[in-house]
């Protein structure tokens, strides 16, 4: 069963005075299966962030619907949205979005506190996750005291601690150097190996080559898809870069 289904989504931004309209998404269709690790690629301005915001229920589509586990996001009432979001979705952002007045530990626990979990349960859940992400020693530190890669790992911990249906990541390696990026991608692979569904937006071919499926979007539509099949990361890398070349030439032609 697909965990996420996107049906005929469109999004039109209207500027403040209604004079100019921007079609960010037009008739987008795709679905993500449980346990999948999908990447979305596309040129700047092709509507990736817009799509992710809609999937995250932070924004509403102009038309179409999004089903999470068969449930339509548009049907959820405004009041329940944030609870829905924190119970079903995990987020990883390009710029980490950690709160500077909380220690890493408290940052990671924030969604659980919002869910009103007991302290004992929080600590039980935190321990294995911190262990796996290699940040156990850093838990008492504050965001300004750790490196970018470590911050991003804390952000991943915060995303997975609620055991969400789906993790949405918007250019998670964007602010990391290549070594930290490689570490993060390894973490993503591992948690995906545990059965976690991940949807990641990225510009980086390297990052995308870790995914099982790559969706290419252009002008607000899904333009092409690539499946890993039996390819290694390196082989997939070559395929992606070929596809991108073809895509950009099509634009010119």
């Amino acid at each position: 069963m697909s965990i996420l289904e996107v049906r005929n989504i469109s999004k039109i931004y209207t500027t403040r005075f209604g004079s100019a309209k921007v079609q960010a998404l037009s008739d987008m269709n795709f679905s993500v299966e449980e346990g999948e690790y999908a990447a979305i690629m596309g040129e700047s301005g092709s509507g990736k962030t817009t799509l992710l915001n809609i999937l995250a229920s932070l924004d509403k589509p102009t038309g179409g619907e999004v089903l999470l586990n068969g449930k339509s996001l548009t049907m959820i009432r405004e009041k329940e949205l944030s609870a829905f979001r924190r119970d079903n979705l995990g987020f990883v952002f390009q710029d980490f979005n950690l709160l500077d007045n909380f220690s890493l530990k408290d940052n990671i626990l924030l969604p659980l506190v919002l869910q009103k979990k007991a302290v004992s349960e929080m600590e039980e859940r935190l321990e294995p996750i911190a262990e796996r992400l290699g940040i156990t020693e850093l838990l008492a530190k504050y965001p300004y005291e750790v490196s970018g890669g470590q911050k991003q790992r804390a952000a991943v911990a915060r995303a997975i601690i609620t055991k969400p249906q789906l993790i949405l990541a918007d250019e998670p390696t964007g602010a990391l150097d290549s070594k930290a990026a490689a570490g993060l991608l390894k973490v993503f692979r591992e948690i995906n190996g545990d059965g976690q569904t991940i949807l990641m937006v990225t510009h980086s071919i390297n990052a995308a080559s870790h995914a099982n499926r790559i969706l290419f979007i252009k002008d607000g539509e899904v333009f092409h898809q690539l499946y890993r099949g039996n390819l290694t990361n390196e082989q997939l890398y070559v395929k992606i870069s070929d596809t991108l070349t073809v895509l950009s030439q099509k634009t010119k032609g």
Partner: protein
């Protein structure tokens, strides 16, 4: 080239109007207040009037305080704005603008700000000067009319003071920019995110200061001690208040954070960590608000109370229209007393006044040292200090009966009645080496004559002794220490009563040689009324003037605090929304923190005020006000009005805060 910098400066001011508009407003208002104060104080008319001089001193004090406050206040605002603008200046620097050029832009900004503030201040000052002066004259009961005028000295000194001030601030800003490298400038706004450490020592010292200050204020006895200890207590509490907001708050919050069960609950989690952050950023601001609020409350309530109580304290301190005390070497004989009474009657007749009440009594007053039931002269032992001082009042049975209004039992030869603040339990009393039998205790129905001495000496060292007759009284007489008291009440208008007093004064002067007394001390309620009005009205004026200035400072600090918090909170709440915090939760979390930050300073201020009450009550006695219910009423009313204003300001400024956070 210069016009380019000037234009750039203009654009900067415009783009940062959120910060500069209040800054300019404050500049204009301070310049206006300084000008008005200086213009009123420098007015020649005030010199010529009445000449009691209190008003002149009060106004001079006003000029100095307003000037000082202006300096501190503008400096505070400037450094706040600078902190916020460091980033912008950093961008200029990185874009390739040399520091020299940045300095030029800053200089132009300062020139523009200075011009607008002083120009606007002087215009409004000149416009409102007459109005404010009329208000002062009304309060102090001066009848003179005030022509519209411009004070040259006022303008000049305002221009000078603000010129120096803006120059110093500009240098400070140069220095700030010079010190910083571009990266630091860029991050200037966000420097120091480090979580504060709980400083137990500082917190303990702070609590100690406040407790000591409170203890001093609560246990003070007597006016002299109150005056002596007041500043010590105030300084202790001010120091303690800063520590309270800076360290004690952090210590408490950290303790709450350590308690996991408490801390990891949705509401507490966000509030506690938010508060730690807020307290670190704004502790000094909150402490300033608290201290300023306390000052406004004390200043306005005491001055309002003094003014409202003028009539009552006049009646209290001058129960008679005319009170005269003539100092004789021995009890004046009947003929002398008779002569005096005739003279008084003829003065009244001459002036056309009807005396509704005339009373006379004699007593001997000696400065003594009292111990148990032995009284000796204070000057007998050179080693006696101030705390050994006591007073002995001796009066005849006849005068005592007049005082209490009913006859009392005969006194034996050598027998006396004794009155003191506490029960006098001995059967005998030794006065200046002579033994007397105590036949009973005397009681004064309202207040003992010269009763304020008891308050003043702050002890039980004041004794009243009633003796049988003039002969017995004469034995206590020392040079100049027999006091012949005259109390008179008359009809007539203010002017008529004033005329009567001068005639009475002349008569007493004429009697000196014939009756053989050296000095006489005459007080008149009409004259005192003018002095009281001048003093209390002057104080009220100063209290309101400075009170509104401090209020403005408080408002500005709150405004800047809200704005800077708005900027900082915006991102944090955006993140929380992303990880699944609902808008309602965000709103209620913000509201809790805002409310805490709002109520904290004013609550502490009110507690300070309540603790200072016993001390303030005593200090009010210096100004002749003993009306405690009135004072309590004034305190409560002032606090209530202040709370309302504070609340309105809070609502308005939190509007701009919410706009920033929910943009």
């Amino acid at each position: 080239m210069n016009t380019l910098y000037c234009r750039l400066a203009m654009t900067n001011l415009k783009n940062n109007r959120q910060f500069y508009l209040p800054y300019i407003l404050v500049g204009v208002v301070s310049a206006m207040m300084f000008y008005i104060m200086r213009a009123i104080q420098g007015n020649k008319g005030i010199d010529a009037m009445r000449g009691y001089g209190t008003l002149k001193i009060v106004l001079f004090l006003g000029v100095i305080i307003v000037g000082l406050c202006t300096c501190i206040f503008l400096f505070y605002t400037n450094s706040f704005v600078m902190k916020r603008r460091k980033k912008e200046l950093g961008v200029y620097n990185i874009l390739g603008m040399e520091k020299k050029h940045i300095a030029k832009v800053m200089a132009w900004e300062a020139v523009i700000l200075y011009g607008v503030s002083v120009g606007g201040g002087l215009v409004f000052g000149i416009l409102f000067h007459k109005l404010v002066a009329m208000f002062l004259y009304h309060l102090t009961g001066l009848a003179e009319s005030i022509p519209f005028s411009v004070s040259g000295w006022g303008c000049l000194q305002t221009i000078e003071l603000f010129g120096i001030l803006y120059l110093v601030m500009l240098c400070y800003n140069f220095f700030q920019v010079k010190l910083a490298n571009p990266i630091a400038l860029l991050h200037g706004t966000y420097a120091g995110e480090r979580e504060p450490k709980a400083n137990w020592l500082f917190a303990g010292l702070g609590v100690g200061c406040i407790v000591t200050g409170y203890y001093l204020a609560l246990t003070v006895y007597g006016v002299i001690e109150a005056v002596n200890m007041f500043f010590v207590a105030v300084l202790l509490v001010i120091a303690g208040t800063y520590a309270l907001f800076i360290s004690v708050s952090i210590v408490v919050l950290k303790l709450l954070k350590k308690n996991k069960k408490y801390y990891y609950q949705t509401a507490h989690f966000i509030t506690v960590s938010g508060m730690i952050y807020r307290m670190k950023r704004n502790a000094t601001g909150l402490a300033n608000i608290c201290i300023l609020s306390t000052m406004v409350l004390v200043m306005i309530s005491t001055t309002v109370c003094l003014y409202a109580g003028t009539e009552a304290s006049l009646q209290n301190n001058f129960p008679r229209e005319i009170n005269a005390t003539l100092y004789f070497d021995s009890v004046p004989d009947d003929a002398a007393q008779e002569y005096l009474r005739e003279q008084i009657a003829s003065v009244a007749e001459e002036q056309g006044r009807k005396m509704t009440h005339v009373s006379y009594y004699t007593d001997a007053v000696v400065v003594t040292h009292n111990e148990a039931n032995a009284v000796e002269r204070y000057d007998k032992n050179a080693s006696y200090g101030f705390s050994d001082m006591g007073m002995l009042y001796v009066m005849t049975k006849e005068d005592y009966e007049l005082y209490v209004g009913e006859p009392i039992d005969e006194l034996e030869q050598g027998g006396v009645l004794v009155a003191s603040l506490t029960d006098f339990l001995w059967d005998t009393i030794t006065i200046f080496g002579q033994n007397y039998t105590v036949e009973g205790q005397a009681v004064f129905p309202d207040d003992a004559p010269d009763g304020e001495m008891t308050d003043f000496l702050g002890s039980t060292n004041v004794l009243y002794v009633i003796v049988a007759d003039d002969d017995a009284l004469n034995r206590f007489c020392v040079q100049d220490q027999v006091q012949y008291h005259i109390g008179i009440e008359t009809d007539g208008t203010q002017a008529e009563r004033k005329a009567f007093v001068s005639a009475f004064r002349g008569m007493v002067e004429d009697c000196k040689a014939q009756l053989g007394f050296a000095t006489g001390w005459i007080t008149s309620r009409v004259e005192q009324q003018e002095i009281y009005l001048e003093m209390n009205g002057g104080f009220l004026f100063l209290g309101l003037f400075l009170g509104s200035m401090f209020l403005m400072i408080t408002v500005l600090i709150i405004y800047y605090k809200q704005i800077s918090e708005g900027f900082e909170d915006r991102e944090r709440f955006a993140i929380m929304t992303k990880v699944g915090m609902s808008r309602d939760m965000v709103k209620s979390a913000i509201r809790t923190q805002m409310r805490m930050v709002f109520f904290l300073p004013i609550t502490v201020a009110v507690v300070h005020l309540a603790m200072a009450f016993p001390m303030l009550k005593l200090m009010m006695q210096i100004f002749g006000l003993a009306n405690v219910p009135l004072f309590v009423g004034c305190l409560i009313a002032t606090a209530a009005v202040f709370a309302v204003i504070y609340f309105i300001v809070f609502r308005v400024t939190s509007g701009s805060y919410y706009r920033l956070v929910y943009r």
